[in-house]
Symmetry: C2
Subunit: 512 residues, 2 copies
Amino acid sequence: MFDQSYVIGVDVGTSSTKSLLLNDRGLVLSSARVDHCLYSPVTDAAEQDPEEILAAVVQAIGQTVQTSQIPASQILGLSFSTAIHGLIVIDAAGKPLTRCIIWADNRSADWAEQVKRSPQGSGIYHRTGTPIHPMSPLIKIIWLRQEYPEIFERTSKFISIKEYIFYRLLNQFVIDYSIASATGLLNLKSLTWDPEALDLAGISARHLSELVPTTQVLKPIKAEFAAAMGISPETPIVIGAGDGVLSNLGLGAIVPGTVAMTVGTSGAVRAVSDRPLTDPQERLFCYALTPDRWVVGGATNNGGVILNWLRQQLSIETTHEALIQLAQTAPVGAGGLIFHPYLLGERSPLWQPEARGSFLGLTIHHSKAHLVRAVLEGIAFNLRMIFQVVQELTGPIHTIKAAGGLTASGLWQQVLADVFAQDILFPRERESSGLGAVILGLYALKVIDSLDVGFTSLSEVYRCQAIPANVEVYQRIMAIYQQLLPGLQREYGAIAQLQQELSGNPPTQLGN
Amino acid sequence: MFDQSYVIGVDVGTSSTKSLLLNDRGLVLSSARVDHCLYSPVTDAAEQDPEEILAAVVQAIGQTVQTSQIPASQILGLSFSTAIHGLIVIDAAGKPLTRCIIWADNRSADWAEQVKRSPQGSGIYHRTGTPIHPMSPLIKIIWLRQEYPEIFERTSKFISIKEYIFYRLLNQFVIDYSIASATGLLNLKSLTWDPEALDLAGISARHLSELVPTTQVLKPIKAEFAAAMGISPETPIVIGAGDGVLSNLGLGAIVPGTVAMTVGTSGAVRAVSDRPLTDPQERLFCYALTPDRWVVGGATNNGGVILNWLRQQLSIETTHEALIQLAQTAPVGAGGLIFHPYLLGERSPLWQPEARGSFLGLTIHHSKAHLVRAVLEGIAFNLRMIFQVVQELTGPIHTIKAAGGLTASGLWQQVLADVFAQDILFPRERESSGLGAVILGLYALKVIDSLDVGFTSLSEVYRCQAIPANVEVYQRIMAIYQQLLPGLQREYGAIAQLQQELSGNPPTQLGN
């Protein structure tokens, strides 16, 4: 019986939904991936279609089940990882009044600035663990209330993509503590909605879903969806958590002294604490995994997306692989060319939506290979800055585990190890959030009795060793990288405003 | 008789020697151009071969004479414009011990820094009119004495490329006040070698050539050279002046309120004063044209050479024309992308050899068209900064006349007018230094009695009008451009040193 039970982990990310079917010892039997569209109808907007994502979830699960040829009866359950911060506005009939306004949407930047400067700002961050930033659903709700009162008035519920999926699959409005802890509205100590945050948002608890633990089991699934997925309607669904905290779990980075680093389109560095922990300088988030495991970290907007920019906007090479190969022809340190990667503004470590990117220190000897290498190195320096802040708050880090699309490249692995000046472990299984969802699912379904599970898929790692000579070069460059920042940060506001005015775009509008 | 006399102007520049044959009313009858090689055997070196340049002079003059079919007897004389700052070391036998170490050579940077910081630095600048900088022959001599004592000890004379040419053509060591005024060794008030500067260089007046006015007439030319040029050995040679001051003359920019701007590989902005004038903040040079016409201005290292870098190093387009066309597809202001053009370090307006280039304010929306346009605009902002300093020192400027290779493009003309926020005149004849040499030659040979000559070639201009809406955009960007500078300037020293160390080049060596 034991080796005949299987769990499906579903990871609803920004660019795609991935589904993984594993046995109870952590072996991946099948997987599927369905890509999402990102809509940006006006400047700073970043939206996704909730029905499109629901369809991706159903399709990905269905494909996984079908490929695996496992009978529905042996599927013990499903468990969900979803992107955090997204906001969907629902009317009384359960109909969406907006698309899902995702973390990357920057339209509420002015309201974030106001709240941050207000006397309440700091208290709200420290109680809710969510930095005051346009990514935060709290800020998005304030923006909606102020700029789109006609939508705000018609709202019955403010929900996330995970709540939307479960509302559609199960007809329930529930939210796990993990997703809730990233709304800017949850009091981390009491695990209840924070009255002052609700007040600032201008809403009450009835506008939000019912709070449940991340191990909560839900059912039954509506028949038509269960059929489309090829599973029984009685299959238990573990509500799961946010993708970041589950990535830590999936990487086995849930013990003190270990951090998980993700480098995909964006990037993040996260450690685990046994209690909610916030940063006196307000540079880190704190989100829930379980009541005694909290994930403390920082996320950058500017990861592999910058490499796509080099290809698409600057026409440097046509494939990612060719770009990496070109970077490899430039020397360590890119001939002293320094790159600040803040093309999409920045969350950690700057928390400055108006931040911008720069190539600094150009000479006539720099070629496009130097530019590409400087970009890789700049992204790594920025991640290192986040790492240092995390270390300050959580104590010394002896183990770094990294995952995400970009970590597949040998050059990237070496640059990261050399910039971080320590060995980095790269697990072979890079779908860390989906794997984390599976582990949490097995735990919630009582197949395993601890989250510190010894899956083989976790122990298969490549250890990339830092090269001392490179470390020395990077330490010198990083000192200059950081010295250059404060002066530029003082000008980013003026630059961003100028760019906004020059863009000649019509005033901010909702896409839906 | 009057309309049967002709003068040849020879302009020995950095990248080529050009020869122009004009009649005495300023009409160009023939011209020729012979390119030079630039040698950079080690980092920061920039050298040219004196014999190769002499050959180019002979060849260019010969071609001009031959093409024009003017009989040698009707050629009234030759007059010379040459690049300033170059240093050639000659032994007692008249044999060069070095190549011509030109203005762009940066190997003496550390010595420039030392002299600048010394108690004598400021006084030397104010007495000699030449900024303390590695371009200055004074600094190059100090560098040679300190780092190549074995060459210094064997030196009989320190000369410029013009002195070398005349030594070879006429067997005389003579230097005009204009070239001398750019050596850092000439006292502008007394028009004699400055004893304190000589002392600092560790040389005496016998190591330098005989000082003569820019209208000095020399002859006879050695027979073999006269024959190769197709002219009579008795043809008078007017010694002429430096290329910058002659460009003012050739553009008709020698009256108060008028500046000449050159934008070629490098660039410069220059006004005329009736007496030597130096800048309290030491940002401008002051070189002689005649005893009562002094040229005050600033030169930038970073002109069209940066566009070549875009093509050659970043592979953005293959021709200059395509590059300009691409820039034209980006909006005015390049979407708020700011470029500091200091890829070759900078003379005016920063006087910081360690300065470096930067793209600042990058967003995901910027394409390579934005990058190219930002480069054009950045070069123009930098020229505007020099213009402002010149205006501060010499009084209000109502007329700007521009010449040089880059000013042929309509986009460039418009960007310059919009950035300068005033109309700019672009003479059709862009060989302003050669034309200036002809005018000075005609004056020295007493064909004309004033330098304020009304040549048709001077009055044929295209007036490019500033567009108010663009002016407004550029004024906003320029404010940010300048705000960003001081913070970066504080870091350039560290960046330059890092780059020097990373370059892995062997220690400084002389190329010859």
